[in-house]
Each structure stands twice: as structure tokens, then as C-alpha cells.
């Protein structure tokens, strides 16, 4: 454990985060000054810390995966041309000011989302293949996907931070009924999978995200509250572990799997307690606790992005996923004058008015993303670079063309500088490679070296 350096980092981050840098929903304030931190201290971090989720300057290297629903209208999404001079089209226009921080990544596929013997269900697969790269078992009850790339990274680097990973979603309401062509709804609402059978349930309420990260109550009391809450979990652990052991003895294999999820969770709690002891009281950002889910969709999305930003800025985690809406999402966008459901519209019958509307929804999502990147860029990290410079944010969808349910040439952006390891500011086309290849490269950059294959990968993606 990189104890000394890490602790130093934590302390500093805690101090930094106490500054008031967010004001109200989705707003951002100027950068806090960071002159005081001697960078050589960071560089002096142990070798292991340098390798794992750490930038060359020794700052934390953050990785996030953001999922948007129903693909994007290809002719409006893809820029004209390649390289640095490419012209952004309508959908990516909102990113123009941030273009030097964004890589538009073409030519990546998720062939396992295509129909195979399992037939229909492109939306369920669009979600569940997105970060796993494997074909999920088609069933309403026998749920089996694969470990997702965020979890692969979190399992390696999660010990460095208070939370191994953070899962967010803006799917606050869920329909009952069957989800998509015989797939369990577990495939539809989760993109992050800890194991083939355990999805990492995302959190939809920004208040709960905030309280989980920093504690409940008003600023000044949260850190102590959070610490107290984590430590109080300890008293019951011995008892419940013994209970679980007694139960396990008389269970059959499928039951043991369920109980195993419980035990995995208990182990995570134990780890959190250890970390709480080691790291001491956590950060307590001087912002107000969100009161819940805002009524406006734009505010909701912005606020969830803010939660991710806070988590990254305070180094509470280095790995996050965010579902803006599940594939097949049919919400309407009256905020931008579109009454029809998104999914309904995405099958546009090649009618111009419908295509335009879908493109405007695609663009709306990009606007929110661009605003998030701007806030990341405006936030200075411990090494003096911006938070965006030290991040890798994959933004994409499980469908390419929502109208035809294709999964080749997926709309994918890779934002951030990866601490200098990435080469943003370009449009790149990889000519039809598995998306999993990109994941393999990202995992390696984060210090996950022993991973030779992931999902349907055929090798590491070069030129990122």
C-alpha cells in the first residue's frame, strides 16, 4: 500500500474539496488554487501506486464509462474527415470548444450485440454487451452476462480509494412487464457487472450518491457522520458472517450463489472499514447535499455528472459508470420540444422530421456531456493539470444506428487526456475492431497488465 503518499494525497484532496467550487445545480465555479502541493511528493509515490490508476505525474487516473440510449443518427454524428482537421457535424457541435480534449473513435463494433441464435433483443444486448463484450444468456431468469471492464479495472485499483467504483443512472423509474424479447430486466438497467451473475446496481438518486460518498447532514458534519456510519457496520459483521456460514451448509448450488453475493458484499464492507481506519475521516465538499431527483431532465443529468465529478475530484473512486438512459428508453423530451418517445422516434422510417428530432436528442445528450467536460476541465487536479487531463471518459451507446439496430461502428467518444497517455483532439477510425480492444488498452493504461483478453477482444487497440 502506498501509505504515506496516498495519505498525503487524501489530506490534500480533503482540504481542496472543502473549498466551495460548485454552486447550485450543474453550475461550476472557478478553479481552486493549488500552488502548495509539491509535485515531487507525488512522484515519490510507490511504484505500485504509479502503475495502478495513476498518471505519469502521480495524480489519480480516473476512468468513466457513460452510456447514452438508442444509438445516434450516423450522418449527423460522424464528423467529416479524419484527424485533427475533421469537421464536427451537428450532433457533436456542442463539443467544438472542447475538441482538443475529445477523441472521436470510429470503427469499433460490438458484434456480440448482433442477433445470433438468440434472435431479437438488440436493446437488451446493447446494454449488457456494452461494457462486457460478451453475449448475454437470453433468459428472463437465468441471468448471465460477463464481468464488465469497469469492474475489471476496479478490482485492480479499487483498493486505492474509498469506493472501488461508482455506478450511476438516470433511469429512476422502471417499467414492470418483460423488458426486451425475453431478456430479464437485469440486462437492461445494468451495464456494470461484478461477476457474470451479479450486476452492480446503479444509484439513481443524487442525494443518496452524495451521502454515500461524503456522509449525510450539513457541511462540516458529514465526514464524521460517514466515518461513524462505516465504523458502526463493524459490530454486526461477526454475527452475520456466522449466520451466513450456518446457512451455507444446507444450501444447494444456486442458493450458494445468492448467498455468495451477500458474502461478497460483506467483504466489501470490511474493506471499506479498513480503509476508513487507514484514511481517517473523508472529504466533505462545501456544497449542499442534493435534495433528490430534480424535476427537469437536464438538471438531473447535470447533477449526476456533478456527483461523478465530485467523486473524482475528491479521489473517492477512480472508476465510474453512468447510464443516461437504457437502450430502448422511450422517454420524451418536452424540455426541447420533442413530445414523442425517444425509442419510438429512433425507428424513424427514414422520415426527415423524425430523423431531425432524434438528432436533436442525440445532440442534447452531447450538450450535457460537453458541459460536464467543461466542468472537469475547469477543475484543477493535485498535479496542477485539469481533472479532465487526468481522466478517460468513454461516451457511447450500445446501438450504432438505432433505426436498424446495428452494432458496428458504434458512436464512441473518448474524452480526457488520460494523464497524457491519450492523444485527444482527433477523429480516428479503427476500421472495424471489437470495442473490447479499446477496453483492453484502457485497462492496461490503468495498470491492469495481466489481462490478455477481454470479452471478444482480438488484441489491444493501438493509436488511442
Amino acid at each position: 500500500m502506498p501509505a504515506a503518499a496516498d495519505l498525503e494525497l487524501k489530506k490534500h484532496l480533503a482540504a481542496v474539496s472543502r473549498r466551495h467550487f460548485l454552486r447550485g445545480l450543474g453550475a461550476c465555479i472557478a478553479l481552486p488554487a493549488f500552488g502548495s502541493l509539491a509535485s515531487n511528493r507525488l512522484v515519490a509515490a510507490t511504484e505500485r501506486a504509479l502503475q495502478l490508476a495513476t498518471t505519469p505525474t502521480g495524480a489519480p487516473l480516473r476512468t468513466a464509462f457513460v452510456f447514452f440510449p438508442n444509438g445516434a443518427i450516423p450522418q449527423h454524428w460522424w464528423p467529416a474527415g479524419l484527424g485533427r482537421a475533421a469537421q464536427f457535424n451537428a450532433t457533436l457541435q456542442p463539443l467544438e470548444a472542447m475538441r482538443q480534449h475529445v477523441q472521436v473513435v470510429g470503427g469499433l463494433d460490438h458484434l456480440n450485440a448482433n442477433p445470433g441464435d438468440d434472435g431479437a433483443g438488440d436493446h437488451a444486448r446493447g446494454n449488457s454487451v456494452f461494457l462486457t463484450g460478451v453475449r448475454p444468456q437470453k433468459s428472463a431468469t437465468d441471468v448471465r452476462a460477463g464481468v464488465s471492464i469497469d469492474q475489471v479495472i476496479a478490482q485492480e485499483v479499487g483498493h486505492l480509494t474509498r469506493l472501488p467504483s461508482l455506478e450511476l443512472t438516470c433511469d429512476a423509474t422502471r417499467a414492470s412487464s418483460n423488458c426486451d424479447s425475453g431478456y430479464s430486466c437485469a440486462y437492461v438497467y445494468n451495464i456494470s457487472w461484478r461477476s457474470a451473475t451479479t450486476p452492480m446496481t446503479p444509484e439513481s438518486n443524487p442525494r443518496l450518491v452524495f451521502e454515500r460518498l461524503f456522509g449525510a447532514g450539513v457541511h462540516g458534519q458529514r465526514a464524521a457522520q460517514a466515518q461513524q456510519r462505516i465504523m458502526s457496520r463493524r459490530s454486526v459483521l461477526d454475527f452475520v458472517l456466522e449466520d451466513a456460514r450456518q446457512m451455507e451448509r444446507r444450501l444447494a448450488a444456486p442458493d450458494r450463489d445468492k448467498l455468495g453475493q451477500y458474502l461478497d458484499g460483506i467483504r466489501d464492507v470490511e474493506t471499506r472499514i479498513e480503509k476508513a481506519e487507514r484514511f481517517g475521516a473523508g472529504p466533505d465538499p462545501d456544497v449542499e447535499t442534493p435534495s433528490g431527483i430534480p424535476p427537469s431532465q437536464a438538471q438531473y443529468v447535470d447533477l449526476m455528472y456533478d456527483m461523478m465529478l465530485l467523486a473524482f475530484q475528491t479521489d473517492s473512486t477512480r472508476v465510474a459508470t453512468f447510464v443516461l438512459g437504457h437502450d430502448g428508453d422511450n422517454r420524451s423530451f418536452s424540455e426541447i420540444g420533442i413530445s414523442e418517445g425517444h425509442h419510438d422516434l429512433s425507428h424513424h422510417q427514414n422520415r426527415q422530421d423524425r430523423i431531425e428530432k432524434v438528432a436533436r436528442i442525440d445532440r442534447w445528450y452531447v450538450e450535457r456531456f460537453a458541459a460536464f467536460l467543461q466542468r472537469l476541465e475547469a477543475t484543477k487536479d493535485v498535479d496542477g493539470h485539469s481533472l479532465l487531463h487526468n481522466s478517460r471518459i468513454v461516451y457511447g451507446s450500445g446501438n450504432a444506428d438505432g433505426n436498424r439496430h446495428t452494432h458496428e461502428n458504434l458512436p464512441v467518444l473518448l474524452a480526457g487526456g488520460g494523464g497524457g497517455l491519450l492523444h485527444p483532439g482527433r477523429v480516428v477510425h479503427h476500421g472495424g475492431q471489437p470495442m473490447s480492444n479499446l477496453f483492453l488498452s484502457l485497462a492496461e493504461q490503468a495498470g491492469v497488465h495481466q489481462l490478455e483478453r477481454f470479452g471478444d477482444s482480438t488484441g489491444r487497440l493501438a493509436n488511442v
Binding site: G119, T141, S181, V240, M247, A253, G265, P295, S332
Partner: protein, 874 residues
């Protein structure tokens, strides 16, 4: 393994474990293929192979080419065949039909030879270890501790399968959820179990108990029209506030003075805590710049004063220390508008949650905290051994209820140790120790999961679940909650199974049976979803009442709205203003809107129909055809029914020619099967096939657009539904499935996406007549409902039995459930379709009463002292 190999394996096992030979249900008699070739294949050849043999594979179904017994025993293939033949869907209506005798022979061959079901002892299947879902957790905690813990906001949503959120296989525990379980356990116990024998006395005055000090005749409610148009400027009239649950809401825009008093018995230091919340109604891009001053007075003295602007949804708590003499003391909250002439877009309010008076603070005045006697009914003994015994008694009683089963001594010992350890910490108490042990109970897997014990019955192949497990199965099925004292008593005495019928009757009469109504209809008919399904009332209305001028105005307004305000030309501004005025004038006229109140009434309607059929012991056919509806004034008006007044839902007899009655024409079903701006005949057809007839169509082949998505042959304009139907009918790929769903959906086209009646859409008259795949024709939805209730009575029985059994067991249906479902449908039929017969039938059925054993069970059974009996997994 060939047939020989399998038989050999069975024989080997039979030698090791007595009592198994010949009983393995999965192994059909040798030569199943031979029997198939001689008895069954000729029949299939004649009636099925045109489409499902000789290389044809319509719908992906192939019924020839089997090369071995193993090949033949494809359970899912034959289950599909069985359902289609039983439901009369196959062979199709326009093809030669199977003679009755052949049909019967085919069905019994599938059940006997392929599924190898044993009618005398059907395979009960096995439910995986199931955790409580959000609803069950909340209800269980309420029953156990009297705490309403809002799992809907605190826990992440449960995943679902087969449309239900209580299926064991799909309910998982993520690390996030586990953390929440541990924290919830702390919170719940902290809210209920006192940790000290004495504490400062507290008196809560609820917001709604605050009285206005203004004379009643002076009070005029501030008027606000629904569009949020500003109320008349000038001096605002005083208000009395509006009661919201336990709270009192005060608008920013009008002065208010409300007061409550407290009678102090003793002199001494007190604390007064006042809880406020700011509230607003969300309005798109419209802000509300009004503000107000809030003042709090205690006994006339101003103790707090602060202006409030729009604050979002925030909670405030203010504490004041007072030195009081005995006698009456008054807390006054005053609101004075500061800015009140701005548009009142957001209905800004101060919500007065209440005030708490604490005191006198010195310890000589302390009293036992609330609920103390409930958890600690006897005085805590001073002597250590007696103390320990007391802790043991309290914790054993609690753990038994919480785990819903007997708790062994070792477990209680561990709990007592935990309590004593905690109580010994500095500043802790005996009560705090017990409370901490209770936290551990709520965090235990034995609380979170439904751990079922089994008991062997001599001579029976499958073990029964024990009486405690049976009590839980009953209570979670009928109440979505834990067993109550009576169920526990019967289980303890071993009498529950004997008194099952009386218990089911008692439980269904209990108010907690509302949970079955709410959760089952909420999911079977998706009634839950109506509260959130995105429907744009305005667009839906415009489709039925086209108004080109208004639509143009809206487009103009939106188009100009996208231009940056500073960049707009004067012409554009004028155009936008004109469009806005026109649009707003139209918008002010009353028109049907799917408001949250209306959605709620719809959900209640669906629940009330189910409840009515259940409580009045009526036929489930009334779900399809009924001459009554449950409505309140709002919903009645939406349905075009007259003479219903008030908010209360009630049963209303329908006029003889009414198209309503039954679930298909309820607002819930009609709305949840629609897109935000329009109906979807396909979704509605699929809904009927899946949720009413139990024959969901296979999903569309990949790459095939659904009905609304089909492109017009001439490349322009929107297809009318009829045109789309014609397109489907002319394309054989579409036809085989859409012939089944489209006509069903078309029959409902007279109901728009909000569930309101209409005669035309986009100025085209609605045609609701159609022809079912069975060949039956109907002219409108009334006739369709009659056909469903008569011709498809049995299909509906099967469908409902399948859904309710899935819900009751918490697992999906499989081929081995065929026998149970057959029996349930027979029971329903024999009882003239009465819902109670189905519920009793399910409770008495093998899969509800028994469990397929696995090796783990044998160990468990041994541990419990029962004789081990081996069995093979089919």
C-alpha cells in the same frame, strides 16, 4: 448417454440408494423415439409438417428429424407445441384441424412421454434462495417494528423477470445494496428501539395542528389558475394555509400567521425545534422571483427572522432554548410576502412540518422514551444472570419473528454476547446492547433471505417445506409481508397445514391482502406503470382533434425558441409572440389531460376491480367483461360517464351500450401500451396475447421493423393503421405473427393513448372491426371482449393461473408445471371461474407445498433429524 447408458446409471444409483429404481422422472421409457415414430409422427406428418417439417421451420419450430430419445426430449420445444395446440392456435384456422381424439392423444403424449410428469406426484420444482424485494422488505419492517422505512427511495430498484419483481433467480445483492441493508438496519432500529430507560420528554406539534389566527371570514385562498398565470397584483389577502398530510403549506404570496400552544407542567429549561421545508412546483424554464419573510415568535418574542426566495426542496430545522414557567406557551409562525407581484410560476410554499417541545431538560424530569414498554416490558433486572436471561428472552422472541423460523440456542447465545459486549462499552446501556443485537438480526442473511426448511413425509418422493416456511410462503404471497402472530402460532404448533383453508380465508379478508391486489395487478397488468408512463396529453389530444393553426404556432414558437434570444430579429420576436398568444389561448381551454390525479385513479380502478372479484368471490371472467367500472368523478368524466361526483372511487353500473368494463378498456392498460404521443396497436395486441391469452408472440425477427416502423411503399407520409395492416397481411414473414396481434390491437383503436374514447384520428374515422386468427370476426371492442370471454375462456384461465403461480412461487414456469397448471384450470372451471378457487388451488398445489430436493437439502434434512432419502434431479 444413450437410453441404455441412462438406464445403467439409474440402476447403479438404485443399488446404492434404495427406493429410487424406476422412479426417475426425466428418463422416459426406452424407445420413446420408437413410440413417437409409430404413434405420433403420422399425425404430425398430416397436420404439422407442411410448416414444421421437411425443411420448413415456420416460427423457428421444427417437429421432425429427431435422431435419439435425447433429441426428442426437447422440453421447451414441446411445451411450445403443447400451448399452441391446447390454445387452438395450431394448426392455424385455415388449415385442416386435428380431430379431437388425435389432439388429446398428442397432448397426453407430450405430458406423459416427453415431460414424464407423474399426475400423482408432480415435480414441485425448486425456488432459489430468495431475498426480500423492496416491497416485502418495507412491509416486513413495518410489521416487525412499526417503522415505515421508505425502501422505494432508499434502495435501488429490483430487477425483474417474466414481468415480476419477486423472482428468486433475478433478485441479486450488489455490494451497494448490501451496504444499504446494513445502514438500513441501523436506521430502523434507531427509529424504533429506545436505548435508554429515561429521556427528555418530547411533545410533537404537527404542522396541521397549527391554527390560523386570522378570523375565518377574512381568509381568501390565493387564486392561481392552472396555467400559472399571475394572480391579480395588489395587496394580497391573508391565507390560512393548506394541510398536506401532517404538515401545513403556506404560500409565499399571501400573509399568514399560524399558532400552536403547549402547556408546560414544570418550570425549567426547554427546547423548541421548528421544522420547515421549502416546496415548489416545477415549471419548465419559468422562474418565480417572489419572496417572503418567515418569522417565528415564541410567547410573543421574535426568535427567528429570515427572507426566503425560491430555494428548491430544502429542509430547515431551527432550535430555540427557552426558560419556561409552568403554563401555556405559544409558538407562532408568520409569513409576510416581500415580493409578491411577480408571476407565480412555481407555487412557492413554506411547508411547516411541525414543532417539537423538549423538556424540561434536567434529568429529574426525564420520562421513559416512546415505545419503551413495547420493547422492554419488564424492568431491567440488576442481577447479572437475570439480566442476561432477560436479554435472551427479548432477543429470542425478536429473532424468531425476524427470521420467520425457529431460532436455535446457539444463535440466541451469539446475540446475547453481542448485546452484552455492546452494553459494556463506556456510556452504553443494557437497552443499547439489545438494540445493537437487533441491528445484527436485521443485517443477517436469515432476515434478508427467505431460508426454507423442509420435512420428509414417509413414502413421498418430494419433501414438504416445513410449517414455518409454509407460513412465510402464505404471508409473502397474500400480504407481501412476514407472517403474523396467528400464522406463527399455528406453525409452532404444527397445525398450519391442517388449517390452511381457514387461514387463507382469514388472510384474504385481512387489510394486508391489499398488497396482493396492488403488487399482482401492478405487475400482471402493469397498473404500476401508469403513474410514470410518459404520455404527452397535448399531442395525444391534437391527434384526435387536429388543429393545424395551433400546431403551426407551436412549431413556430419552438423554432424561434431555439434561436438565441439576442440574435432574434424583430420580425421573429413578433412572430413568436403571435404564436405564443395563439398557443396559450388554445391551451387555456379545458381538454383531457393525463394528470397525476387521473393516473392515480386509473391505477386504483384496476386494483379495485381485482379486489372486487376477490372479495365478492366472483368470476375472473369479469376481468374481461363486466357491466360496471370503478371510478371517481375525474375518471368518470374521462370515460364519458355522467353522474359521478367527488374524489372517492366507487362501483358504477355501466349503460348497456358502453364499451367499458373489464381491464382491456381501463386507462391503465390503454396508457401503458401506448407511445408518448399515440397509441400502438402492436403493443396492445402483444399485451393481450401475453397478459390475457398467455400466448406471447415470438419477438420480431431481427431487423424487421414493427408495425409503426414500416415504411410506406411510396416513401412519404404516415401509414394509417389499416395500410400497415395490409402491408403485414401481404408479407408472409409479418403475417404469421401480426395476424395474431394486429386485430386485437385494432379493436382498441377507439381509445387514445390516454384511454379516452375517440371516433377519429388525424381526421380519419377509426375502424375497430376485425377478424381474429381463429376466423371469428368482431365489429368492435365489445364483441372482442365477448369472444375472449367465451372462445378463449380456457386460455385466459391458463394465463391467469400461470401469472399468479409465478407470482406466488417466485419462479418462472417450466415444463414440469404443466400438471399443476392443468389442475388449477380444472379447479377454476369447476368453481365457475371464481378467483378464490384459484388462490386456494395455488396454496394447496404441489409446488407451493413442496420442494424438489437437491443434495444440499439432504444434508439439511439430516441435520434436522429427518431420515435421508435420496432422489435424482429430473
Amino acid at each position: 448417454l444413450g437410453a441404455f447408458g441412462r438406464r445403467w446409471a439409474a440402476l447403479c444409483l438404485a443399488m446404492i440408494v434404495p427406493g429410487v429404481a424406476g422412479a426417475e422422472p426425466g428418463a422416459a421409457e426406452p424407445g420413446a423415439l420408437a413410440i413417437f415414430r409409430t404413434d405420433i409422427e403420422p399425425m404430425l406428418d398430416q397436420f404439422c409438417y407442411d410448416c414444421h417439417g421437411y425443411g420448413s421451420n415456420k416460427g423457428g419450430v421444427v417437429l421432425d428429424g429427431f435422431e435419439s430419445d435425447r433429441d426428442l426430449r426437447d422440453h421447451s420445444l414441446w411445451l411450445r407445441a403443447l400451448k399452441n395446440v391446447r390454445g387452438g392456435l395450431m394448426p392455424p384456422a385455415d388449415q385442416p384441424q386435428l380431430p379431437e381424439a388425435e389432439r388429446t392423444r398428442l397432448l397426453s403424449w407430450i405430458k406423459g412421454d416427453i415431460f414424464a410428469t407423474n399426475p400423482a406426484e408432480p415435480d414441485p420444482g425448486r425456488v432459489t434462495l430468495r431475498r426480500l424485494n423492496r416491497v416485502e422488505y418495507r412491509n416486513t419492517v413495518r410489521e416487525l417494528l412499526g417503522v415505515d422505512f421508505n425502501t422505494e427511495t432508499e434502495f435501488p430498484a429490483d430487477d425483474t423477470g417474466h414481468g415480476f419483481d419477486n423472482l428468486a433467480d433475478v433478485l441479486t445483492i450488489s455490494p451497494l445494496l448490501l451496504e444499504k441493508y446494513l445502514d438500513a438496519a441501523q436506521t430502523i432500529i434507531a427509529q424504533s428501539v429506545p436505548t435508554r430507560p429515561l429521556a427528555v420528554a418530547e411533545h410533537r406539534i404537527r404542522g396541521r395542528q397549527f391554527q390560523s389566527t386570522i378570523a375565518v371570514d377574512q381568509v381568501v385562498q390565493t387564486a392561481l389558475d392552472s396555467a400559472g398565470v399571475p394572480a391579480a397584483a395588489g395587496k394580497p389577502m391573508p391565507q390560512a394555509g393548506t394541510v398536506q398530510g401532517n404538515a401545513l403549506d403556506l404560500l409565499y404570496y399571501a400573509p399568514a400567521t399560524v399558532a400552536a400552544s403547549y402547556e408546560a407542567k414544570h418550570a425549567g429549561p426547554y427546547q423548541v425545534v421548528v421544522d420547515l421545508q421549502t416546496i415548489e412546483r416545477y415549471a419548465d424554464d419559468l422562474f418565480d422571483y417572489n419572496s417572503c419573510q418567515v418569522r417565528i415568535r415564541i410567547d410573543g418574542e421574535v426568535v427567528f427572522e429570515q427572507p426566503f426566495v425560491r430555494e428548491g426542496y430544502k429542509m430547515y430545522s431551527y432550535t430555540f432554548d427557552r426558560e419556561w414557567a409552568p403554563g401555556r406557551h405559544e409558538v407562532v409562525v408568520e409569513l409576510e410576502p416581500l415580493i409578491h407581484d411577480q408571476p407565480q410560476h412555481r407555487r412557492l410554499r413554506i411547508r411547516l412540518a411541525g414543532a417539537t417541545v423538549r423538556g424540561p431538560l434536567p434529568s429529574e424530569f426525564w420520562v421513559p422514551p416512546p415505545r419503551y414498554a413495547e420493547f422492554f416490558p419488564a424492568p431491567v433486572p440488576g442481577e447479572p444472570a437475570a439480566r442476561r436471561e432477560y436479554a435472551r428472552e427479548r432477543l429470542k422472541a425478536f429473532a424468531t419473528r425476524a427470521f420467520r423460523q425457529r431460532v436455535d440456542r446457539a444463535t440466541v447465545d451469539r446475540l446475547v454476547r453481542l448485546a452484552e459486549h455492546h452494553a459494556a462499552e463506556p456510556g452504553s446501556t443494557f437497552e443499547a446492547g439489545v438494540a445493537q443485537a437487533m441491528v445484527a438480526v436485521l443485517a443477517s442473511p436469515r432476515f434478508l433471505f427467505r431460508d426454507e426448511g423442509i420435512e420428509r413425509v414417509p413414502g413421498e418422493r418430494y419433501p414438504r417445506i416445513d410449517e414455518y416456511a409454509l407460513a412465510s410462503r402464505l404471508s409473502y404471497f397474500l400480504w407481501s409481508s412476514m407472517p403474523d402472530a396467528e400464522l406463527f402460532r399455528l406453525a409452532r404448533e404444527g397445525r398450519l397445514r391442517r388449517e390452511l383453508g381457514a387461514q387463507v380465508e382469514r388472510m384474504l379478508a385481512d387489510p394486508r391482502a391489499q398488497e396482493l391486489v396492488r403488487n399482482f395487478t401492478g405487475q400482471w397488468l402493469q397498473a404500476r406503470d401508469v403513474t410514470t408512463v410518459p404520455i404527452e396529453s397535448f399531442d395525444v389530444y391534437l391527434r384526435d382533434h387536429p388543429h393545424p393553426e395551433v400546431e403551426e404556432a407551436r412549431r413556430t414558437f419552438r423554432r424561434i425558441g431555439r434561436i438565441d434570444e439576442a440574435a432574434r430579429t424583430p420580425e421573429q420576436k413578433a412572430e413568436a409572440a403571435r404564436a405564443r398568444a395563439l398557443f396559450q389561448a388554445f391551451n387555456r381551454q379545458p381538454r383531457p389531460q393525463l394528470t397525476s390525479e387521473l393516473r392515480e385513479a386509473m391505477q386504483r380502478e384496476t386494483e379495485l376491480l381485482f379486489e372486487h372479484v376477490l372479495k365478492q368471490n366472483r368470476s375472473v371472467i369479469e376481468f374481461l367483461v363486466a357491466d360496471y367500472v370503478h371510478v371517481n368523478e375525474r375518471l368518470a368524466r374521462h370515460y364519458g360517464l355522467e353522474g359521478v361526483e367527488g374524489d372517492e372511487m366507487r362501483l358504477v353500473k355501466l349503460p348497456p351500450d358502453s364499451p367499458r368494463g373489464g381491464v382491456l378498456t381501463q386507462g391503465t392498460v390503454l396508457a401503458v401500451t401506448s407511445n408518448p404521443t399515440r397509441t400502438s396497436a402492436v403493443k396492445r395486441g402483444v399485451f393481450i396475447l401475453d397478459h390475457i391469452l398467455g400466448a406471447p408472440p415470438p419477438p420480431p425477427p431481427p431487423g424487421v421493423p414493427t408495425l409503426e416502423e414500416a415504411t410506406r411503399a411510396d416513401g412519404g407520409g404516415e401509414l394509417s393503421l389499416r395500410e400497415a395492416l395490409d402491408q403485414h397481411a401481404s408479407n408472409s414473414l409479418c403475417r404469421s405473427c401480426h395476424n395474431r396481434m394486429d386485430p386485437l390491437g385494432f379493436a382498441l383503436e377507439n381509445f387514445n393513448a390516454m384511454g379516452a374514447w375517440r371516433d377519429s384520428e388525424l381526421n380519419r374515422p377509426i375502424e375497430s372491426k376485425g377478424r381474429l386468427v381463429s376466423g371469428r370476426t368482431f365489429s368492435d371492442v365489445r364483441e372482442l371482449k365477448q369472444i375472449l370471454a367465451t372462445d378463449h375462456r380456457q386460455d385466459f384461465f391458463y394465463c391467469l393461473a400461470e401469472k399468479l403461480l409465478t407470482y406466488a412461487l417466485g419462479r418462472g414456469m417450466d415444463y414440469y408445471d404443466t400438471e399443476t397448471l392443468d389442475r388449477l384450470v380444472q379447479q377454476l372451471e369447476a368453481a365457475d371461474g371464481r378467483l378464490s378457487a384459484l388462490i386456494v388451488g395455488i396454496v394447496e398445489s404441489t409446488p407451493f407445498q413442496k420442494r424438489r430436493p437437491l443434495e444440499g437439502d439432504i444434508a439439511g434434512a439430516t441435520a434436522r433429524g429427518s431420515a435421508p432419502t435420496a432422489a435424482l434431479t429430473p
